[in-house]
Each structure stands twice: as C-alpha cells, then as structure tokens.
C-alpha cells in the first residue's frame, strides 16, 4: 500500500517534469505557436489552483466556490508589492520570491480569517458563502484606489481624483483599471516549479498524520470528534493551505500580465466554477487528475479555435458528455460490462 502511494506520487512528478521537458524542447526548436506560448503560464496557474481546491474538496470534503477570490487576493497583493518595490529591489528573482511569499501569505491569512466563522457551516451553505466572499473581494478591488506621493500613502474607495495626489504622485491601484506595469517576472519554468512544490506539499500533507485527521473529518465528523480529533483546527489548517496555494497561483498569474484587473472573467465566480470543473473532471481527491484536467480543459478551447464560433458550444457538450460518461451509474455499469467482455478471452487462455 505504501509503495503504491509512493509510485503514484513519483509518477505524477515524472509526468509534470516530462511535460515540461517536452514543451521546452518544442520551444527551443520553435515549434510552438505564440498563442500556445501565451497559455503556458496560465496552464500552471490553473493547475496550481486546481490542486489547491482539490485539497479542499477532495480531502477536507468542503465545497468552496470562492477560490478565484483567494487567487485575486494573491494576485493583487503580489503585484502591488512588485510594482511598489520595482525601484528598490532590482533583482527580478528576489522580488518575485518576496511577492510570492506576500501574496501566498495574504491569501492564507484571508482564508484563515474567513474560515474561522464560515467552517461552522456545511455543504452548500459553505459553498454559497465562499462564492459571496469571492464576489466581495472582486467588487472591493474594483473600487479601490491606492496612490503615493511625498506625503505618503493615499487610499480611496470612490475615485482616483479623491486620492488628492500631488503632481508627481503615483497611482498604484487604479480602481477598475487595476494595477498596470507589473514586472514580467514569472515564466513557464517558475510556473512548473511552483506546481511541483505545491504537489510536494499536498502529497506530504495528505500522507501525514495531519492529512489522515483531515480525511477522517471528511468521512465522518462526529466519529472523528469522538476519537479526539480537533475538528476545528484541522478544518482550518486544510482550508488555509488550500487558499494559500490559490494565492500562489494568483501571484504567478499577476506577474505574467502587464495589466492586472479584477474582471468577472478572471476572478469572478465563473473562474471559481471553472477551477471546480477541473477538480471534478480530473477526479476528486486526485492531484494528478487536477493538473491533467486543468491542462486539457485550458487547451481545449484553443485547440478548437479553428471551429471559431462553435468552440465554446463544443466545449460545453464535451463537458456534459464527459461528466455523464464518468459519473452516471448506468454509464459506469456499461463500461464495466465492456471491460469484462474485453478481458474475458484473456482469462480463458
């Protein structure tokens, strides 16, 4: 059992590394279209997010529809740090690392604070509260203005003019226009490294005493409580780690764009749902599945670009068909029958 788990882990790492090497070879030989090149960092971002959410959904057993909100926090705090310290810290790598720590930390902090009251709720109520939280974050960031001049920092939630900056002052966060001029510090290599680190963290967490405590809460909270497991502590821990990974994904995302805005498209509930789709389609509880599903589903609309208007339609149909094929009891039965028929002749020989 132990060796099987280990094998499973190593396979996942090898798949990610192999995929990275193959892509790098294609990049070096110049066989990758610019469109696909632009997708490489988002692929890592979504994979990271899906891994984070899978920890929450698959191991903690709580449905969160607000992970885009935590990603948003990570993205904005990380980008804010990078923009404000662009002159002070010259080294790109060091600045990104610090931004990463700050973004991840802030997302984890918010995750922790929101989790304290919210994890008392169960199931769909938790889902709706996290969804609401994500929308609040997006909404607040869209009206947030932060600038700096010789008098220090100015903050407003109404308009840029209200900041009252002196001439020469700089607006860092400009409401709905977001943060502009974030240094391009992230690239595909950093993205893959982050995915590997996140996988390492979640695999170790779920395969530890702590991880088993978390899973026991998922399987039966009352039973877990009665054997002395501190339900609140482990729930908080699981949720916070999950949001921290989403925050890291946000930092990676932000440093790939020159203009960072909080639109419904990238940080709204649609994004949270998209991440959930990766998790469920990849297999709840399977981190490897999350990464693979995130990659396939992000690439699919681009690969279908030739079909222009019909691509999202086909995407939707594929999604429904895959869900029915994977999860419907009738489909599972049918699949097993076919498998049995294929396997039978072998047994006779």
């Amino acid at each position: 059992m132990k060796s099987k788990k280990l094998k499973n882990k190593i396979t996942t790492f090898l798949i990610v590394i192999a995929a990275y090497v193959i892509v790098e070879i294609f990049l070096l030989t110049g066989n990758v279209s610019s469109l696909l090149q632009g997708l490489l960092v988002p692929l890592c971002t979504y994979s990271l997010c899906a891994v984070g959410l899978n920890l929450c959904v698959g191991y903690l057993g709580e449905l969160s529809l607000g992970h885009a909100g935590f990603m948003c926090i990570g993205a904005f705090t990380g980008a804010f740090f990078s923009v404000t310290t662009a002159d002070i810290i010259q080294n790109d790598g060091v600045r990104f690392l610090l931004a990463l720590i700050i973004g991840t930390g802030c997302a984890a902090l918010f995750g922790f604070l929101i989790a304290i009251p919210v994890l008392r709720l169960n199931g769909d109520y938790l889902a709706i509260v996290t969804l609401a939280f994500g929308e609040i974050i997006k909404n607040v960031i869209n009206v947030l203005y932060v600038g700096k001049d010789s008098n220090g920092w100015h903050v407003s939630i109404n308009s840029q003019a209200e900041l009252g900056l002196e001439p020469g002052g700089v607006t860092y966060i400009n409401g709905a226009q977001g943060i502009t001029g974030t240094p391009h510090s992230s690239n595909f290599t950093i993205g893959v490294i982050l995915v590997l680190v996140a996988l390492f963290v979640v695999y170790n967490l779920t395969d530890s005493r702590t991880g088993r405590a978390i899973m026991s809460i998922r399987d039966n909270q009352i039973a877990a409580e009665s054997v002395g497991i501190n339900v609140k502590k482990y729930k908080l821990l699981g949720f916070t780690v999950s949001t921290a990974i989403a925050g890291a994904a946000g930092v990676l995302y932000a440093h790939n764009l020159s203009t960072l805005t909080a639109l419904p498209k990238n940080f709204g509930y649609n994004m949270s749902i998209m991440i959930l789709v990766f998790v469920v389609l990849g297999g709840i509880g399977s981190f490897r599945g999350s990464v693979v599903a995130a990659c396939i589903l992000t690439l699919l609309p681009e690969l279908l670009r030739g079909l222009s208007d019909y691509r999202m339609l086909i995407y939707a149909i594929v999604l429904i068909a895959m869900m029915l094929f994977n999860w419907a009891p009738d489909a599972i039965f049918f699949r097993e029958q076919i498998m049995a028929r294929i396997k039978k002749p072998k047994r006779e020989v």
């Binding site: 959904v57 449905l63 009251p117 919210v118 008392r120 709720l121 769909d124 109520y125 889902a127 709706i128 509260v129 969804l131 609401a132 939280f133 929308e135 609040i136 909404n139 607040v140 869209n142 009206v143 939630i157 109404n158 009352i222 509930y269 649609n270 749902i273 959930l276 789709v277 469920v280 389609l281 709840i284 208007d309 019909y310 999202m312 339609l313 995407y315 939707a316 149909i317 999604l319 429904i320 869900m323 029915l324 994977n326 999860w327 419907a328 009891p329 009738d330 489909a331």
Partner: protein, 294 residues
C-alpha cells in the same frame, strides 16, 4: 419621498429575485442540487419572448405563453438528459458540474442564435404609472405588475403544494425520496414536474426582469441567477415563503445600498449581508434547523 421610491423599486427587483429563487429553492428541496443552469433558462425565456413579441409581432399574451411553454419544455429536457442519469451518482458534485456544463451550453447556443450584441428589450407591459401622494410619487406600471404577480405566484404555489396531490407528492419527495417511492409516489414524475414549474416561472421572471432592465445579452441570466440563488439561501433554501422573504430583502438591500452607500459596492453589500445572516442563522431566515444524528 425618495426613500419610499427606492424602497418600492427594491421590492420590485426583489420580487423578480423571489420568482427566480422559487425555481432554485424548489429544485434544491426536491433534487438536492444547485441548478446552475436556471439563470440561463431565464435568459432563453427572455429571448423567446423578445423574438415572438418584438420580431414576430405576436400579442403580449401569446408571446408570454410561448415563452413559458418553451422554458417549461427546456427545463424538463435538461432534467431528463443531463441530471436524471446522475441522480444516483457517487458524488453530489457530479450533477453540479453537469449543471455548469448546461449553463455554458445554453449561453453559447444563445450566442450563436442571437449574437453577442445586446438587444434592447421592448416591454410588453403597457400599464400606466401609478401616481400617489399628489403626483410626488410615481410608480411605474412594470413595478406594480411585478410585485402583484410575485404575490399571486407565491399564493398559487402555496395552495398548489398544500391542497393538491401533486403538491403533496412534492413535499413527500423532498422529505424522503425512498420512503415516498415506497408509498407509491412517482418520484421521477414529481422531480420532472418540479423542474417544469421552476422553468416556467423562470420564463415569467425573465420577461419581468428584461421589462425593468431592458438590455438582453446571452449573459443576462447569470448574475440575477446567482443573486436569486443567494436569495433562496438567505431565506432558507427549500422553503417557499423563504424565497419570497429572501428575494425581497435582497432586492431592497441592493437598491438601498446602491442609493445611499455606494453604487459600485452594491453587490459587495448584498453578499456581505448574506454572509452575516448565514453566520447568525446558518440555515437562513426561515430555514428549519438541521439536527445531526450520530
């Protein structure tokens, strides 16, 4: 005076939310699933009524009837094709994701058929505005119609559930599916009926929503859908009076928040109130407390 004006507008918007929330709450009560595609059924209903009324030139009554019939059929087809095979799936998330897939599907079908450009919806409700307090307070016809219609729908639905066999079957299925089946209730039929009613109401909600806010795009249904779902949770999901209370409170908070606090933060205010309510009363305002058995 302006406060009363905002209040009435809020109640009107809330009534639309309440009608949409009914669809969510009934489906949730019976099938225990979040029907994410409900908001998009609203959008389809609005487009159908737009095409039949504004483009084909049919009268308001046939347009409304056609819209309701199409949405009802659509709701039942979605349930049969996409949700029913997954009803006994291992994870309840499977049907949630499928609902999201259906939502994308409806949006993209609408995008292909009607295009991405917003169409300006022509209101088919020609009721003269109500003037109160010596002309100081003007309430538009659509506002009056929306509020009255919402109350009528609520009343009819409550009577339907209390007094008819089909309504009692709904209650039984929502209480315990297996026990209802043993008692001879047609569970599949009842669930299909619930989807039919919810989707029919979505058509009405779509017409009311677009009459008050006359811009129609393939994504029109998404945000009201989410808000109405929030309203359903707010009032206590699974409860029909809860949908009314939740919807109207949400509408009033949204309009008052937009008017007096910040127009840009109105959504944030709505969701913040939701979070506070759920933390104080975790099953919603009118929800029944859940007891956990070991």
């Amino acid at each position: 005076m302006s406060f009363i004006m905002y209040l009435i507008n809020g109640i009107s918007l809330g009534s639309v939310y309440a009608i949409i929330a009914l669809g969510y709450t009934m489906v949730y009560g019976i099938a225990k699933m979040l029907n994410f595609a409900h908001g998009d059924v609203i959008m389809i209903g609005s487009y159908i009524s737009f095409v039949t009324f504004s483009q084909m030139g049919l009268g308001p009554v046939p347009a409304v009837v056609i819209s309701i019939v199409v949405c009802t059929a659509l709701g039942m087809i979605i349930e049969r094709v996409a949700y029913k095979p997954l009803r006994k799936a291992v994870s309840p998330l499977a049907v949630l994701i499928t609902a999201i897939g259906v939502s994308y599907l409806l949006q993209n079908v609408a995008l292909l058929v009607f295009g991405a450009n917003p169409v300006s919806y022509v209101s088919m409700i020609a009721v003269p505005p109500l003037k109160l307090a010596g002309g100081e307070l003007t309430i538009t016809g659509i506002t009056v119609i929306t509020i009255v219609l919402c109350l009528v729908i609520m009343g009819v639905l409550m009577v339907f559930i209390k007094k008819t066999k089909a309504g009692q079957a709904m209650l039984a299925v929502s209480e315990d599916k297996d026990a209802a089946q043993l008692m001879g209730v047609n569970v599949n039929g009842t669930i299909a009926l619930t989807f039919a009613i919810g989707s029919g109401l979505a058509a009405i909600a779509g017409i009311l929503l677009c009459s008050a806010y006359p811009t129609l795009t393939p994504y029109t249904g998404a945000m009201p859908g989410i808000k109405a779902f929030t309203a359903a949770v707010f009032g206590g999901i699974g409860s029909i009076p809860g949908a009314l209370v939740g919807g109207i409170l949400l509408g009033v908070i949204e309009i008052l928040g937009r008017a007096y606090i910040s127009s840009q933060l109105s959504d944030a205010i709505v969701f913040a109130v939701l979070i506070i309510v759920l933390l104080v009363k975790p099953t919603g305002i009118l929800g029944k407390p859940i007891f956990e058995k070991v």
